[in-house]
Amino acid sequence: MVAKRIIPCLDVADGRVVKGVNFVGLRDAGDPVELACRYSAAGADELVFLDIAASHQGRGTLVELVQRTAEAVTIPFTVGGGISSVEGITALLRAGADKVSLNSSAVRDPELVARGAERFGCQCIVVAIDARARAGGGWDVYVKGGRENTGLDAVAWARQVVALGAGEILLTSMDGDGTQAGYALELTRAVADAVQVPVIASGGAGCIDHLAEALDPGPAGGHASAALLASLLHDGILSVEQIKTELLRRGLPIRPLASSC
């Protein structure tokens, strides 16, 4: 079975990491490329850069950041935030990103997913879904950082974007995000079981148990292919090494650390 992936997510704005990262011996805690190299050497399986400024002015900086990352890092990375056209996708993939992640732009213009997949292949097109539990059951898709309810059903939306050509789903539970109370297992499982493509669980990780649950293929698990992590890693609460060692010990398929350095 393909190894479950551990994916650090770095929020960037104007070419700098936004939240501080607690890495011993970092020369520049705000340099995304140095951090990317550190996480790669530490055993991260992939990386995600999320451009949270996504201003017009910042786009050039983002492309430059992607180029520098591609020169230095030898694992795959995804770039998301503010990508709203095939031209935008093209610029980032040409600069060296392996995948782009579309979120509100996919809601506004679902055909963008199809056009991107047709041009570059579905493996390049990740659709990020921010979901929140709906009163009475099910989950709604939110955009604008969780402020606006689109009224779309998260499971149906996941099916739709996969039918359009998305090769992966990055699923964030807005209820869990920042709580460190655990991934939204029921949501993650519902989406993972509804689509053929891999699902990355995001939002709510607080400890290794939460990761194990999200990646667990059993009836109570989240059935996710990968887990996205931010503050838990950046704040130094857990290291990639600790996570992988423990998940391996629990019998999950994990790429061994020795293959990273």
Binding site: V2, S40, G121, C122, Q123, V197, H223
Partner: protein
């Protein structure tokens, strides 16, 4: 210094492949025509995306003919990902004829519950017939895959590595004559991928 011709036909992430070889000391020259291949020691055929558009682009620019001439002259080529699939005769993914430099067909991965497609992520290679990419006794290699199709060479001896998928094993890398190819992305596979590229360059240097 080894000069590589990196085939630039508008399908995929040339940048990462180019950087990976440059880190290992090779000179990489993007090539868009047969004439530009002159002076290169070997060709690299990368590619991500779909089979038919890729073949269409290779044929439009005359690159398909030039690659075929190159390989039938026994000169070395390394295919990566879609670049591996294009070397075969045909694919489940499309209608177009492949380059046909290797006999066999590219088939869709079997759909099984609990085994997402695309097959995306890290796997250890299962060694098959030894080759310059994976000589006998090579250490275990964990490499990064992202694909929905896999080649089925007519001659299974072409397989130099397999990868487990669902309840089966599919081709992960092939070698025949001077043609080698990886279904996985060695340029995105950390130190293990780099080791595979380094072995290929060492083999080229000794030719």
């Amino acid at each position: 210094m080894i000069r590589l011709g990196l085939i630039d036909y508008g399908m995929g992430n040339l940048h990462s492949v180019q950087r990976a070889f440059e880190r290992l000391g090779a000179t990489v020259q993007p090539v868009q025509s047969g004439a530009e291949m002159e002076g290169c020691k070997a060709l690299v055929l990368p590619g991500v995306g779909a089979f038919d558009p890729a073949m269409e682009r290779l044929r439009q620019g005359g690159l398909a003919e030039a690659i075929t001439a190159w390989c039938t002259a026994g000169r070395p080529l390394l295919g990566i990902c879609l670049g591996l699939q294009l070397l075969f005769e045909a694919s489940d993914e499309g209608e177009a004829a492949g380059l046909g430099l290797l006999k066999g067909r590219v088939r869709a991965l079997p759909r099984r519950p609990g085994h997402p497609i695309p097959h995306m992520g890290w796997e250890p290679l299962v060694p098959a017939n030894p080759s310059p990419l994976l000589p006998a006794g090579s250490a275990e290699s964990w490499v990064y895959f992202v694909h929905s199709y896999a080649a089925e060479p007519s001659d299974p001896a072409c397989n130099t590595a397999l990868v487990r998928f669902a309840d089966t094993a599919v081709s992960a890398a092939v070698w025949q004559g001077a043609i080698g190819a990886c279904q996985f992305h060695p340029e995105k596979s950390g130190p293990h991928g780099e080791a595979i590229l380094r072995r290929w360059l060492a083999w080229l240097a000794a030719l």
